[in-house]
Structure formats: structure tokens, C-alpha cells
Symmetry: C2
Subunit: 139 residues, 2 copies
């Protein structure tokens, strides 16, 4: 089940400038900065109600965000929905004909298991499914 | 104050096909369809947790959505934040140097007062502020 619009991911060139701008826009500062080594991104999170705004900047030429911004302008990169059972949702969507970008859920930012759905499957929107990792699963 | 990521607006060519696709993706059907004559758009709303997904299709060549889709691919058109005092937020953002696309709040879909912030002001994201119209203000 899709339970929440968990976050909106924005690809930006200059993380510091974008953080200052969104601090002004939203009227509050970020609650977290996190480097995700596996994705080669620096992230900054703002909380708005039950959802988050995630600013993303690539930290290497191989980063998906760096590659994205070499072809497209800054802006919304993906929308993430919280699900209560990511493997069940992946199986359901695969059976319904959606193209998933991950065979298995992978570790994402903010202590989540994540999987991406190809934008061609979702009217041009890169959709992320995410499920919080229960504390007992922490390494 | 920004209190919620109220909805995400998606510009689509074929509202019926996009509605069927998002019904499958989200695992549930829409809760509302609404024609907004003032904007020349047909809209379909899905609820996910405390946020909504709004599919938007233009109903005339003059519609902002039709014009948008003549230049850009289908996908995320805008992100809307619920605010508790839209006029105060507009004044605050104008004073902070943001470019607003409306001088005054206007009536939008879903019984809201809305105002848009220029994407150039917000790292490429078309931001909507919206405030629910209290029942006593209904016409």
C-alpha cells in the first residue's frame, strides 16, 4: 500500500545556494544533511507537514544526479512514496507491467529501502518507492 | 507558515489513460474529478496519506497546461504547499525577492485560494501556495 508522499527529490547544482533559497521559501531550515556514498550525492532534507523536500547534488561525475543535470535543468528529479511492504509493491507493479529500475530494494538516504520505477512507466515521473528500515534491521 | 505538501500537479496529454495508469500505480482510484473552467483544465485527484496527486489536462489551446505540454514532456508540472495565511506568505516571499505569478490569490481547483511562485525563483520548480477556503467564504 502507498501510505504517504514521503518526499520530493530536487536535483540542484549548488547545494549551499539551494539550501539557503529553500530555507527562505519554506520559512524554516533543513533538519538533516546526509552524504550518501553509494549514490555519490550530498542531500539536504526539509520537513513540511508529513512530507520532506530532499535537495540532491552529485559529488562525482558518475553520480546519477550529475548525469541528470548534464542533460536537464535543475528541478524536480523524483517523487517518493512510502509503502508498507516494498517487496510486495515491487511484485505487484512488475506484474502490472511497470518497469522497475532495481531488481531488489537497495539502501537509500534517510535509512530507507528504496526502488525506482522508470519514468516511462509513470507519465514522465521518476517514482521512488521507499520503506523505512525497522530499528532491528540496523547494521 | 508552510504546513503541508498539499499536492503534486502532473501535466498529462490523455487524462483517461493517465488516470488508469495512476490507479494501478497507487493501488487505488481517484476520489474526485473536477473541471476548472477559469484555468481550462480537467483535473483528477488521488489521495496518498496527507497529500494528493493532481492529474491535469488542458481543455483549450489557451490553457496553461496545453501550452506547457506544447514545449515540455508530460510529468510534474508544479508542487503545492498548504499555507495557513496565503496573503502573509505572499508578502513575506515578495519581500524576500521571490517573483510571484499572481498579484492577488485566485480561486483554484479543490476549493482553494492559490498563488504561484515563478520557477526561476525556486531552482526550476513551479511552486504553488494554497489555502483552503473556509466554509463561511463559500459562494
Amino acid at each position: 500500500m502507498f501510505t504517504n508522499l514521503e518526499h520530493l527529490g530536487l536535483a540542484v547544482h549548488d547545494l549551499e545556494a539551494a539550501t539557503a533559497l529553500y530555507t527562505t521559501l519554506l520559512g524554516q531550515g533543513p533538519y538533516k544533511k546526509e552524504h550518501v556514498a553509494s549514490e555519490a550525492v550530498d542531500t539536504v532534507f526539509f520537513q513540511v507537514g508529513g512530507s520532506k523536500i530532499e535537495l540532491l547534488a552529485g559529488t562525482s561525475p558518475d553520480s546519477a544526479i550529475t548525469k541528470y543535470l548534464s542533460k536537464k535543468p535543475e528541478g524536480i528529479h523524483h517523487v517518493a512514496f512510502e509503502v508498507n511492504d516494498i517487496r510486495a509493491e515491487m511484485q505487484r507493479l512488475r506484474a502490472a507491467g511497470f518497469t522497475l529500475l532495481n531488481e531488489e530494494p537497495k539502501r537509500g538516504a534517510d535509512n530507507k529501502l528504496v526502488c525506482f520505477v522508470h519514468p516511462k512507466s509513470a507519465v514522465g515521473v521518476l517514482v521512488e518507492l521507499c520503506q523505512s528500515i525497522p530499528p532491528t534491521d540496523h547494521e
